[in-house]
Symmetry: C2
Subunit: 150 residues, 2 copies
């Protein structure tokens, strides 16, 4: 549906650029709602899931908090506290680095790997809402977003 109708904007957008801004924010909100709902049965928030995937990418190597921040989608999310929550669920382990006692090494646990495997099996449900566009269009959309950010 056109973005004007979704937010029942009675005043026209002053420019196509302003519309792009609202459209991206609105679509991101729509997407992360879908995302959050799909992950809820697994006891993970989208941010926790993102962090866990980064840790799987490193496995069996650990990651420091700084490495996690570097690779997260939302940079200024609070990696320390996200790790806290994953620790409570025993999806990760954490220990002070021997080489640099300021740093901590975070590693995904077997349990963490298992939950990701389960989610992988249901990954269509994460991508399903995106199938309204063709792969060709997806490529085009990615190019435009990359270009937008400069």
């Amino acid at each position: 549906m056109e973005i004007e109708k979704e937010i029942k904007q009675n005043l026209k957008f002053s420019s196509e650029y302003q519309k792009v801004a609202v459209n991206i924010l609105y679509t991101a909100s729509w997407l992360s709602t879908h995302h959050a709902n799909a992950l809820k049965p697994f006891g993970l928030t989208p941010q926790q899931f993102n962090l866990l995937r980064i840790l799987r990418g490193q496995h069996p190597q650990p990651a420091t908090i700084n490495l996690l921040i570097d690779r997260m989608i939302d940079k200024s999310s609070n990696a320390s506290r996200l790790v806290d929550r994953l620790l409570e669920k025993e999806f990760v382990s954490r220990c002070v680095s021997e080489a640099d006692k300021r740093a901590v090494n975070v590693t995904i646990t077997e349990r963490g790997l298992n939950v990701l495997t389960q989610i992988d099996k249901k990954s269509e449900s994460l991508e399903l809402p995106l199938r309204n566009i063709s792969e060709e269009e997806a490529i085009q959309l990615n190019q435009l977003l990359d270009k937008l950010r400069g």
Copy 2:
């Protein structure tokens, strides 16, 4: 920059669709950071600004909380509490509706209109980060996002 490089993804995306998802979320985060920074000098958050613009669209008519929720970008944001904050800053006034004592009428104040006028004058700074794409591309991007949401 390509999204893979921004989040230093060492593992390739499993599909162009997964990349679309990450790209939209990342771009929205990038955009709302710019947005928040541009609004900070005026003492407004993006959500408060969005709400205030809706109220300007209604002015001099008031809006109920329900009308605000209906038109907000983030639907389940908490309109009541956003209004609380705008009230503290005296950008809006609030009073119980005579016709329906459950409802409240929220109206933008002169002060609220003034701050929006000031922001309008600096609106290039809100749109500046978007000028990396042409108007043609902006139209295309809007069409793709609208189509994506089905």
